[in-house]
Symmetry: D2
Subunit: 255 residues, 4 copies
C-alpha cells in the first residue's frame, strides 16, 4: 500500500506577531516543522506549538534557520560549517527541552528557507547539518529534496532521510523547487492535490517548464502561511485517501 | 571538615566580542555558570565553554538571563512568570544539548544579573524559575542568596539549593549584595580571601555598612570580568586550603 | 470652533510579519505615530509608512520604544535616563532620515508602550525624553497623558505638548488609561465615538470605575491593531464632524 | 604636495563589550568610520564616538553594515538592493542625528565588512548604496577600493569618491585586499609604513603574490582592533611626514 507523510512549517509567530493557522493545519498533517527562534518562533510560541502537535498526535520536527529574524531566514548568509553546526545544535536543543517537558520526542529535522536551499547544493553545509543531527540523535530523520547534496550525504552517512516534495510549489527537473509562487486560485487546489497523488503513486511530476520528471515523494510539504492553506490541505488529504494512499508520520515509514 | 564550592560566570563572549578570561578562571573554580545566549554568549561560545569546563572537570551550570544583549541582562524587564518559564527552558535546553554532545550533564543553575536579583525578592518570579528547573531535572541545584525568596521557595518546593556569597561584592545584613564595586586594589585581595574564609568557617561577614551579620556560604562567586580576577581566585584558593577548607563542586556537597 | 487631532500607531510590521491596517487607517487620522525599529518596524516598513503618511497628508510622528522586539516594547526595562536619551535620539534620527528623503518633516513624538506609561509617572525618564526631543527640534510636539509627569515637565521646559486621550481604552480619574481591553463589540463603536465627542467638547469622561472626571483632549488615539479599528475610526470621524468638531493635525492646533 | 587621509573603523563596541582603542587611534587619524548599530555599535557608543571625533577634529564617516551583530557584519547576506537602500538610510540617519546634536556633519561613508567587499564586485549593490547616499547628501564622499564596481559607479553617478588602500592588509593586482591577516610582528611596522608611503608617492604596491601593481591611495585604512594598532598608526604618521606627505581629512582633498 502507498504511504506518505504530510508536513507543514509551524510555530513561526514571534512575540505579538502571528503567522500561519497552526491549529487548523495540525488537523491535516502528520509532521510539523517547528521554528526554533532564529528565523522565527520564540520560547512561548515553541511551548504552545509543541503542545499543539502533541494534542493532534503530529510528529515533531525541528526547523532551524539562519539567525535572521528580519529576513525570516530566507537570505543566505555565508556562515562557516562550524558556525552552522553550533546554530543547529542550539536551536534543536532548545526545542528538545520543550519536547521533553511535554513528554514527546523529536522525530525529524527540516532546515528552513535559505539554509535548506543551500544545503541542497553545498556539500560542506549539508554535512555540517547532518553531523550535528547525528551527534544529537542517530534516529532523527532529515527532510531533503530529491537529488540534493543533503540527500546524497545523508545516505552516505547513514542518517535516516525522507525525500520531500511540495504541494504548492513548482518543481525543477533536478528535484528542486521554484521559489516564486505562481498565481494560485481556489480552482487550482484540485489540480495540486492530483499532482501530489501522481508524485506518490507514479513518482512523476510535470516541472515548471513542462517536462515530465521523475520524483520520489516520502513527505509532502504544505505551506501554512497563505490564505486557503487549510482548504488545500483538506483537498490533499481527501485526494490521497481516495487514491488509497495512507497518510502516516514519517517515522512510521522510515523505521 | 569544611567544604565550599567556587563559582564564576563563564561564556559571556559574543561573536567577535570577548569578555572574561575563561580558561584562566577554570583552573581555580569548581562550578561554572555558562551564559546561554540571551544576555550574553552565543552557540559557538557555549560549545567552547562546555568543552573547557569538561577539560578542567568543573561542574557546569546554566546561567540564563533576560533577553537583553544590549544591557547584558542587567536591566530588569517586567516579564510575566509565564514568559520567564519559557525563557529559562529555552536557554537551559540549548545549553543542555551542548552538554549532551560533550557527554557531561548540567549540575546547577544560577540566574543572571537582573533576573537573579529580582528572583531574590519576587516570590512569583522565584517560583517560575524553580518550577521550570524542577520540570527539567529535579536534581538540578539552584544558586540563591541567603534569606532570598528564591532560597525560601526552593526549600519549600524541595528543589536542591546552594547558598551563595560573593568574594568581590559587599553584602547587606539581609544576605543580599551591593552592586556598586568598591575600589579594589591589589592589596585588597588578601582581605577578600580572609573574608571568604570567615564566611565559610564562622558563618559571619562584615556588611557594607559595618555590621557583623550571619551568612552561610555553600558556594562563593568570583567575577571573571575584572582585571586581576585570576589573582583573586588564586588567593582565595590558597586561603581556603590553608584554613583546611576543601573546595569541591556543589553537587558533592548537596548530594 | 472645537478642534481635535486623531492619531494612530503605524508602521508596526516587521520583516515578514504584518500588523495593523495602515493604509486603511491613514484615511481617517491626522497624525501617525511611526515605529522606529526598536519595539517594532524595520527600515523598509519605515520607508513605506512615511510615504503612506505623505500620500494621505497625515502628520508624521516618531514612536520610539524600548529595545524589546520580543515584548513589543510593552515591558518596562530599568534603563537609565542617559540610555533612554540615546535610544530616543537613535530611533528618531533614523526616522527623520526617511522623512527628509520623502521631503516631509517630523511633527511630533509619542513614546511607545511601556516607555510612554513609565514617562507618565517617572520625572527623570520624562525629562530624558523631553531633553532629547528639544535638542533635536524645539518645535517637535510631544504627546502626553493628562496629569502626567511627561505633561508637567514638557510645560516647564517649554516643549510643545498635546494632551492625549484614548478612544478605545478606559481612563482613570488621574488621566491615565487602563491597559486591559474591555470586550468591545461592534455595538460599542457608537458609544466610544460619543465618549470622544464629550471629551472634546465638555472635557469630561466617565472613568473605568464610573466616576465623571475632567479630561482634556487635544489628540485622540485609535489603536489600529484590532479588527474593526477602521470601523471605529470612521464612526469617530463622523461623530466629530456631526458635532461640529474640526479634525486637524496637531501642529495646526499647537502652532 | 602629496596629501593623504588616514581612516580607521571606530565605535564598534556594543553594550558591555568593548572593541578597539578609539581614543588612542583618534590622535593619529583624520577620518573615522563610525559603526551605526547593525554590525556593531549602539546608541550610547555612537554618541560617545561622535563626541570623540569632534574632540580630535577628525572627519566623521558612516560605517553601515549588514544586520548581523553575531557575525560582526562579516558574512554576506543575500539582501536585495532595495533592502540595502533602506538599511543604509536607517543607519546613516541614526548616526546623522547624533552628529547634528554635536554640531558636526557627516563627511563620508565607508560600508563595512561583507557589505564593502560585495559592493566592490556587485554593480547593483554598489548602485543601491550610492543612490541612497546621494539622496541623503550629494556631498557625502564614499570610500571605495581601486578598480571596484563601487568606484566605477560612483564616478558615473557623480558621487564624490576616495580611493582606499590598506596599511595592514595585502593587496591584489586588481586593487582588492586579501582578508587573511599575515603574521604581523612589531618589526613589520616600519615596512608597512614604507609601503604606505610608496602607494601615496609612486602609486605602486607589491601585491600578496609578489607583483608590482599600480594603485592609488587617497585614504589609508588602519584597523584599530589589533594590539599594536596605535604603534602602527604612529609609525605611518611619522613615515608620511618624513616623506613630505601631508595628512588631511578626505574632504579637504576632494573638495
Amino acid at each position: 500500500m502507498y504511504k506518505v507523510d504530510l508536513n507543514c512549517d509551524m510555530g513561526e509567530s514571534f512575540g505579538l506577531y502571528e503567522l500561519g493557522n497552526d491549529e487548523e493545519m495540525m488537523q491535516y498533517i502528520t509532521s510539523a516543522n517547528i521554528a526554533c527562534g532564529f528565523h522565527a518562533g520564540d520560547p512561548h510560541v515553541i511551548r504552545k506549538t509543541v503542545e499543539l502537535a502533541k494534542k493532534y498526535d503530529v510528529g515533531i520536527g525541528a526547523h532551524p534557520g539562519f539567525p535572521d529574524l528580519l529576513g525570516f531566514g530566507r537570505r543566505y548568509m555565508t556562515c562557516t560549517p562550524s558556525e552552522i553546526k553550533d546554530y543547529v545544535m542550539y536551536q534543536v536543543g532548545a526545542l528538545r527541552e520543550f519536547c521533553s517537558a511535554a513528554n514527546v520526542s523529536i522525530q525529524h529535522c527540516k532546515p528552513h528557507g535559505a539554509l535548506f536551499m543551500k544545503a541542497a547544493e553545498d556539500k560542506a553545509l549539508a554535512r555540517a547539518i547532518l553531523e550535528t543531527l547525528h551527534e544529537m540523535d542517530p534516529q532523527m530523520i532529515i527532510f531533503a529534496l530529491n537529488q540534493s547534496e543533503l540527500l546524497e550525504e545523508a545516505i552516505k552517512m547513514g542518517v535516516p532521510v525522507a525525500k520531500e516534495v511540495y504541494s504548492d510549489r513548482e518543481h525543477t527537473e533536478s528535484g528542486s523547487i521554484v521559489l516564486t509562487r505562481r498565481g494560485t486560485v481556489i480552482s487550482d487546489y484540485e489540480a495540486m492535490a492530483q499532482r501530489v497523488v501522481r508524485m506518490v503513486k507514479e513518482e512523476k511530476v510535470i516541472t515548471h517548464d513542462g517536462k515530465d520528471a521523475s520524483i520520489k515523494a516520502e513527505t509532502i510539504c504544505i505551506h501554512g502561511d497563505t490564505p486557503g492553506a487549510s482548504i488545500l490541505a483538506k483537498k490533499i488529504v481527501e485526494a490521497l485517501k481516495e487514491s488509497g494512499i495512507e497518510i502516516v508520520p514519517i517515522k512510521k515509514m522510515i523505521f
